[in-house]
């Protein structure tokens, strides 16, 4: 999968995928997963996806997290699915054009992980 360079995932940038671009194998996904914090691999039927659940007290902290993730996703032009509920936000990442998980998903996941440390 194309990435813009080496170094920490959180400092790389997503590269546009064309339809039909390959996704990572399950082995590649498991290998990269150790670089992330608290993400799991889910089988969503016809594709794998990365998933992370953030827990909060109340509703607005989840809204605030979404508002911190959104500009990063927009800047990378790579967008997660975000489920905001009372007490939690679930983030799902996969690459539609590739039909699975790509390095772009790991890059965005790493940037989201980095938010927590701000």
């Amino acid at each position: 999968m194309p990435t813009t360079g080496q170094g920490p995932l959180s400092e790389q940038h997503c590269v546009a995928c064309k339809p039909g671009s390959p996704h990572l194998s399950r082995e590649e996904v498991d290998h990269l997963l150790v670089e992330l914090d608290g993400w799991a691999v889910e089988d969503a039927g016809d594709h794998l996806r990365l998933a992370k659940v953030f827990k909060f007290k109340g509703f607005m902290p989840g809204v605030e997290l979404l508002n911190r993730i959104a500009p990063i996703a927009e800047a990378e032009q790579h967008h997660p699915d975000l489920l905001v509920a009372y007490g939690s936000v679930t983030v799902w990442l996969w690459t539609h054009a590739a039909g699975g998980i790509t390095e772009n998903d790991f890059i965005l996941a790493a940037k989201i992980d980095r938010l927590q440390g701000d």
Copy 2:
């Protein structure tokens, strides 16, 4: 179900439900549904819920809609589940304490409908 008064749903306010409060029957739900715009009733397994999908171009308009819904939900202390994805926001409403749909859900749905006309 308790409501604070008569008049348009969008001008009523949610009333706290206690655990075990009754939910509306399917017939009551169907009767009230005509007062809403574009909502459907979904069977989520062990409960019914109201659902509405908003379609957009891109990602940020959905984030903006969520940010308009959130303070209303917070003010009413009645919170939907919101799935933000590229091109859409899905809103689900049900009342956990009642195990189904209550008038509170209709009140919040009506307030969300009213947002679109702003």
